[in-house]
């Protein structure tokens, strides 16, 4: 029978300890949940938790938007790159890029010696226009060069482009509306032999030589022809393309 008491005692002791523990816990529970000091703190923490959550959400959304913008920008950069390549090709065609290569240099000057002789010779019929280079001389010479396959031409560093005119005002020659001063140096890029023989067998150079003008023609392995520095007037032009966007672009002043 004594064994039973021992068991009972142990169980009672355990139960007692447990009861005490439960009581203490519950007491703490009640005590702390009623502590207003901590309640405020808890409220602040809860609010902070919500706030940081919102911030995190907003950051995520913003990152997504930035990503989209960056992608869009990369696309536009590609477009701009393609456009600038196209523009570079157009600038080359237009004459806005200096070129180099083999070619010839022709220099023409007014016939000052001839003029002096005619004036002092006193033979009577001195006509100054017989002794100066005219705009037409340059114009026809340039046409011969183009016909012979010149790939770029400049007179006294004035690049000839689409729309370039060679004319005189009084006794001054204008190219690209820039006044040129003799001697005139014509540079032409292309096969030097072809260009030289075209001029020598042409009309203008033999004519000027015959008249006693100081003329020289030099074949060159490498010369440079400068870029056009002027502008173009396109105020009356509209591109007649099927691309309406390009049409709009020029319609604007």
């Amino acid at each position: 029978m004594r064994r039973w008491y021992i068991y009972l005692t142990i169980i009672a002791a355990i139960c007692g300890t447990l009861f005490a523990w439960v009581y203490l816990t519950q007491a703490k529970y009640r005590a702390q949940s009623l502590e207003s000091r901590n309640r405020n703190l808890v409220q602040v923490i809860r609010a902070l938790e919500v706030e940081t959550q919102n911030l995190e959400n907003e950051i995520a959304a913003r990152r997504q938007r930035l990503d989209a913008i960056t992608r869009q920008q990369a696309e536009r950069e590609d477009e701009v790159k393609a456009l600038s390549q196209e523009l570079q090709a157009a600038r080359l065609q237009a004459g806005l890029v200096a070129l180099e290569g083999p070619g010839i240099i022709v220099t023409l000057d007014d016939n000052r010696e001839g003029a002096l002789r005619a004036q002092t010779g006193g033979t009577g019929a001195y006509r100054p226009e017989d002794f100066i280079i005219h705009d037409k001389n340059l114009l026809y010479l340039v046409n011969e060069l183009k016909r012979a396959g010149a790939e770029a031409i400049a007179i006294n560093r004035q690049r000839l482009v689409t729309g370039s005119d060679i004319r005189c005002v009084g006794s001054a020659i204008l190219v690209n509306t820039t006044r040129l001063v003799p001697p005139y140096e014509i540079r032409a890029l292309g096969d030097p032999d072809t260009l030289a023989s075209a001029l020598e067998n042409g009309q203008e150079l033999p004519f000027l030589k015959g008249k006693g003008f100081p003329v020289s023609l030099t074949k060159m392995e490498r010369i440079t022809v400068p870029a056009y520095k002027g502008s173009w007037s396109t105020s009356h032009l509209a591109p007649a393309t099927e691309n309406p966007e390009e049409n709009r672009a020029t319609a604007a002043p």
Partner: protein
């Protein structure tokens, strides 16, 4: 004896049952106590509050950075769009001016009937005079003039004919010039001017007509065999 033993066992089972129940309740209570904010010690709560405050500050900084980034990206994007539009405008202008695209606009036509012989130099003069008079684009018999266009003349047997860029020109030769029609016409017809010379010196009587709208095709693209861009040249901006 057997009956007493059974009773004891029963009693023990009941006691054990309650003991288990109490243990589980206590365990749950302990668990709730350790997780719920309300049952944390003040020190823990203060530490948590500090942590959260620090986190919030960091997040706000990050957000500000993102906002700045977005603003500057937006400006860049706007600048990029502007750059693109600028490039497009420049491209169209260059292409238009130099003959890389078909163009339309007001202008005049000069028609040479071929009744009186016209030589290559007459045509060279005429084209040059049109440029000088403010022409913005010129085509001869539908062939657009570019920077390298040349007029020539060729004799095949008894036949003599003009060429433009190596192609035969048939009469009537029609020169189309785009630009202000009045200015262009005056540029040719003033006393002592080109047409005057044509009339009196060569008995050439070109017919000049003004048009509200002419359309010219693109010029041939220039292909260089000998020339190449100058090595260090970046070219001049127009």
């Amino acid at each position: 004896m057997a009956a007493i033993r059974l009773r004891w066992q029963l009693l023990l089972a009941v006691v054990m049952f309650f003991l288990g129940l109490m243990l589980s309740v206590q365990f749950k209570a302990q668990q709730a106590l350790s997780t719920a904010l309300e049952y944390q010690s003040t020190e823990t709560l203060v530490a948590m509050w500090k942590d959260l405050n620090a986190k919030k500050e960091l997040l706000q900084k990050e957000l500000e950075q993102l906002q700045t980034q977005e603003t500057s990206l937006g400006q860049q994007s706007f600048a990029g769009k502007n750059a693109k539009e600028e490039l497009q405008r420049e491209l169209v202008k260059l292409k238009t001016a130099t003959g890389l695209v078909a163009v339309s606009g007001p202008g005049i036509t000069v028609t040479l009937s071929g009744d009186s012989p016209v030589i290559a130099l007459d045509l060279v003069d005429l084209i040059n005079e049109l440029w000088a008079s403010g022409a913005e684009a010129i085509a001869v018999n539908g062939h657009r003039i570019n920077a390298l266009s040349a007029v020539g003349e060729t004799r095949v047997g008894d036949e003599y004919f003009l060429t433009l860029d190596g192609r035969r020109l048939f009469y009537p030769i029609v020169i189309q010039a785009l630009g202000d029609p009045d200015t262009l016409e005056k540029g040719l017809t003033f006393p002592g001017g080109l047409i005057d010379n044509f009339n009196t010196l060569y008995a050439i009587y070109p017919r000049i007509e003004k048009h509200e709208r002419l359309q010219l095709p693109p010029a041939p693209v220039i292909n260089w065999r000998y020339a190449r861009p100058e090595a260090e040249s970046t070219g001049a901006k127009s």
